[in-house]
Amino acid sequence: MATHEKIHIKTTINGNPEEFLADPHTSLLDALREIVGLTGSKEGCLDGNCGACTVSVNGRIVDSCLVLAAEVDGQNVDTVEGMANSDGLHPLQQAFLEEAALQCGICTPGFLVSAKGLLDNEPDPSEERIRHWLAGNLCRCTGYNNIIKAVQKAAKNL
């Protein structure tokens, strides 16, 4: 087995300072799930093709399975766990519930983080724009109808 020293990582996750040690090869997804204990980001493919592990790094949407934990040292990471606050659900989360935009729910955290990344910058996207933006997130249950509707509804309510 390769010998190596763990890397000390100081980062901000969902607005909270986090400090942890990780192997140099540890992905951000594994660090979030196995070290920090945030299991909302999901493993679907580990090769950046399903979007279930989508998180935001400094406001940019990334597949956390393709980012090394060491890369987020000093950066801001936002995950699905940071979307709701003490006032309740984020309008996207509320719209996903109301529009039945999930079935099994495994892709839902990734879709929510992706969609938030869109609405944070473009408050009034067209259906075509939403479909294009979310094309990196696979959902196998819903056929996307209700996900698109939910994002449109949240855009109106934000």
Binding site: L38, L97, C104, T108, L112, E127, N145
Partner: protein
């Protein structure tokens, strides 16, 4: 359990509404616990060594280097299975070989050994140290190769069952036949006979969550399991069988499931994790299957060949039909030929029918169920031939189908006579739909356009289910049910209970307990859960009402004959002063004999047969051959939509999978019999950009065998898209494509030859 025909309730308070699903909050916040999210003290990780070739003998497995590696706890091979399970019968022993290969590997990705180690990476590195030597054999990649005279025989000791006759040295594991009337006679009276053969490639369910398992074998030989599954009891029973334990020695704990579509009805990792746990000093072992292995080594849907011959008279009636279907079982017997044979001609009343179905082993992963297993493949062939017949005879495609549609009393070739079904009503709904009545828009002069229509049938499942209800002191209800919830069934079951009790769905709190804490409940599949577990919920609700009435008579000191329950209230028929809501009664009920609870178990026959139709408009780019679906409408008889948002979403999702199957998805095999597109990049499933907003029309012809009229919903919608798209492509380019996927390459080939 024999079922009576129920008088259908017409006015509903809860059914047909769209409450927020009970598990929704956990799922939109990331709190919901799926299999991979489970953590236990002392947890270690397992990984699998998999075959690098499609077909070969295992000459040797050297695990010595891996066993010596720091951080490794245990290595297992097939020998460990046999040590634990000496008395396995032939079928179980063969299934065990699929979990962990013995002597031979039969597909790339076939598990050969497994390792446990302190973390996932160490386990992976240890796998790389295991040396497996193979003697490579010629792979058998499809049913045609498997049936060649001198084809390699995959399984030496396989005894084929060919119409009841035992046959040795064969790749045909099973042949079955359904026969009705005399097809020779039928074809004699036909004015037109069309016969065509269709080829299909293997496809995958494509659930986004890979398989996972945590197993903890303790010092007392009790096994605890957590695993993403459509059936906790199936995981318990299958794993117990594989590792030589009895059912009561295994407990499966519930976790959320990230999609299954039939693919999570088998076990792959739990028996390996169990044996690793036992061999690692009784530590819990966690395993997650990587995506490539999910494609290579879990259970996809079979490809194969389907030959169809149909005869009609000039008057527009079927005279005879022959279907010959050969499905890839994968490496071990057991593809969905029985369902394929049942479904292929079930939509129509055909007086003379002959259906032959063959289960053929090939060097590919052992197939599993995928949404209406077997039906999309056969319907692709049958509904394409019907389309050709209608074109040749210049018949209206819906009127011809109505003219021949199965209805109550029609006998299927497999012998079953239909109860009340809604196929004709579904066809009428398609005929009067906005989509069918609207002209096909041809917006772009550089593209060609087409419209297709096709139908599909699925039996829908019944089976065993259990529901427990408990009345809280505050008048709300705790509901325990045994069905894995794959897409909102906790709520659709709760809604039926709420309707019966006359309370809101929000006042029911549903849970799915572990397998020691609820009665046996069958796997979520076959579109059985809202029907069968919902039925158990209704029975439990009725028992709860009976008990509450009894308690009210004690509380009021009145006669049982003088008490009634209606719309959530219990009252005396004699004294208008005596009336209590469930909530009021709950507050005082403890004094009348302790807490109130009920339990009900059912074992139901088929869940009310389902029919669906797809109408599709497409646009084809003649330069690239790419097909864009510009409009798709799914019309389906759902019996009664309990939870309409999720009924519609099931239908949209099923249609989306069918569109992917029709246009893009396939196991692309190289000449060594190896799948070369085993990632979500290359196995391209529809994205949000590939699909239009799919329209849904719900037809509600109540299933008379359910008090609320429920029919299964989830299976049917995947069936029509294959032929619907094939018929639309034929309409657009004038030539039929006889194989799936009908991808740009095949369309370009047609266009360049045209």
């Amino acid at each position: 359990m024999t079922l009576k025909n129920y008088k259908q309730k017409k006015d509903f308070n809860v059914i047909g509404t769209n409450p927020i699903r009970h598990d929704g909050y956990d799922k939109v916040t990331g709190r919901a616990i799926y299999g991979a999210d489970v953590k236990l003290p002392n947890l270690i990780w397992g990984e699998v060594v998999r075959s690098t070739i499609a077909h070969g003998k295992i000459k040797s497995i050297d695990v010595s280097e891996a066993e010596k590696m720091e951080g490794v706890f245990a290595v297992i091979t097939h020998e460990d299975f046999e040590k634990n399970n000496k008395d396995a019968n032939v079928n179980l022993a063969r299934d065990m070989q699929n979990i962990l290969a013995k002597d031979k590997v039969l597909y790339k990705g076939h598990a050969v050994a497994a390792v446990s180690a302190r973390d996932r990476n160490t386990a992976k590195e240890a796998c790389n140290l295991i040396k497996v030597e193979y003697e490579e054999l010629q792979p058998v990649s499809n049913v045609s190769e498997a049936l060649e005279a001198n084809a390699p025989i995959l399984i030496k000791d396989l005894v084929g069952d060919h119409l009841g006759k035992s046959v040795n040295k064969t790749n045909i594991a099973k042949q079955i036949r359904h026969q009705l009337g005399d097809t020779n006679e039928g074809f004699k009276h036909s004015d037109l006979i069309v016969e065509k053969e269709f080829n299909l490639q293997m496809v995958h369910q494509g659930y986004i969550e890979p398989h996972n398992a945590i197993a903890h074998w303790d010092e007392n030989d009790h096994l605890s399991l957590w695993s993403s599954t459509q059936g906790s009891f199936a995981v318990r029973d299958l794993t117990a069988g594989f590792v030589g334990l009895s059912e009561s020695q295994v407990t499966t704990y519930p976790v959320e499931i990230g999609g299954g579509f039939g693919g999570k009805t088998k076990v792959y990792l739990p028996p390996l994790a169990a044996l690793l746990s036992k061999k690692s000093g009784f530590k819990p072992v966690k395993m997650i299957m990587d995506r490539v292995s999910v494609f290579l080594a879990s259970g996809p849907a079979p490809g194969g060949k389907v030959k169809v011959k149909l005869g009609v008279t000039n008057e527009g009636k079927f005279t005879a039909g022959i279907v010959d279907l050969k499905f890839e079982a994968g490496a071990y017997p057991g593809s969905s030929i029985a369902a394929g044979a049942t479904c292929c001609l079930a939509c129509y009343n055909i007086p003379n029918v002959l259906i032959d179905a063959f289960d053929v082993v090939v060097n590919k992963p052992k197939t599993a169920a995928y949404r209406a297993p077997g039906s999309p493949q056969v319907s692709f062939a049958v509904e394409s031939v019907i389309d050709d017949i209608c074109e040749k005879m210049n018949w209206d495609k819906i009127d011809f189908r109505i003219n021949n549609a199965s209805k109550e009393g029609t006998r299927r070739a497999d012998g079953v006579q239909f109860n009340k079904i809604g196929f004709i009503e579904t066809l009428e709904a398609a005929k009067s739909s906005d989509h069918w009545k609207s002209p096909l828009l041809k917006k772009n002069k550089n593209k060609v356009y087409g419209r297709g229509i096709a139908c599909g049938f699925w039996m829908n499942g019944g089976g065993k289910s259990t529901v427990d209800l408990m009345l809280h002191d505050d008048g709300n209800i705790a509901l325990n049910e045994g069905s894995a919830d794959i897409g909102g069934t906790r709520t659709s079951i709760s809604m039926q209970v709420a309707e019966a009790l006359g309370i809101s769905a929000e006042r029911i709190q549903p849970s799915i307990p572990n397998t020691d804490s609820i009665g046996f409940t069958g796997t979520t599949g076959g579109s059985r859960t809202t029907y069968a577990t919902g039925f158990a919920g209704l029975e439990a609700a009725n028992k709860l009402i009976t008990e509450m009435k009894k308690r009210a008579t004690i509380y009021w000191e009145i006669e049982e004959t003088d008490i009634k329950f209606s719309e959530g209230n219990i009252y005396s028929t004699k004294d208008p002063e005596l009336k209590l809501s469930i909530k009021e009664l709950a507050a005082v009920i403890g004094e009348t004999g302790g807490p109130v609870s009920s339990t009900a178990s059912v074992n139901l026959p088929s869940g009310g047969n389902g029919f669906g139709i797809g109408i599709c408009d497409i646009q084809i780019d003649t330069l690239t051959g790419k097909t864009d679906v510009i409009r798709y409408t799914a019309i389906q008889d759902v019996g009664k939509a309990i939870y309409p948002q999720y009924v519609e979403s099931q239908i949209v999702g099923g249609a989306a999978q069918g569109i992917g199957w029709a246009l893009n998805e396939e196991y692309y095999m190289n000449d060594k019999g190896i799948m070369t597109n085993s990632s979500f990049l290359d196995y391209r499933m529809p994205t949000s950009l590939d699909l239009p907003n799919i329209e849904v029309i719900l037809v509600e012809v109540a299933n008379p065998q359910h008090p609320y009229g429920v029919r299964g919903v989830g299976e049917v919608p995947i069936i029509p898209p294959l032929a619907t798209l094939g018929n639309a492509i034929k309409d657009a380019i004038g030539t039929r494509i006889y194989s799936t996927p009908m991808n740009p390459g095949k369309i370009l080939e047609v266009l360049s030859n045209g």
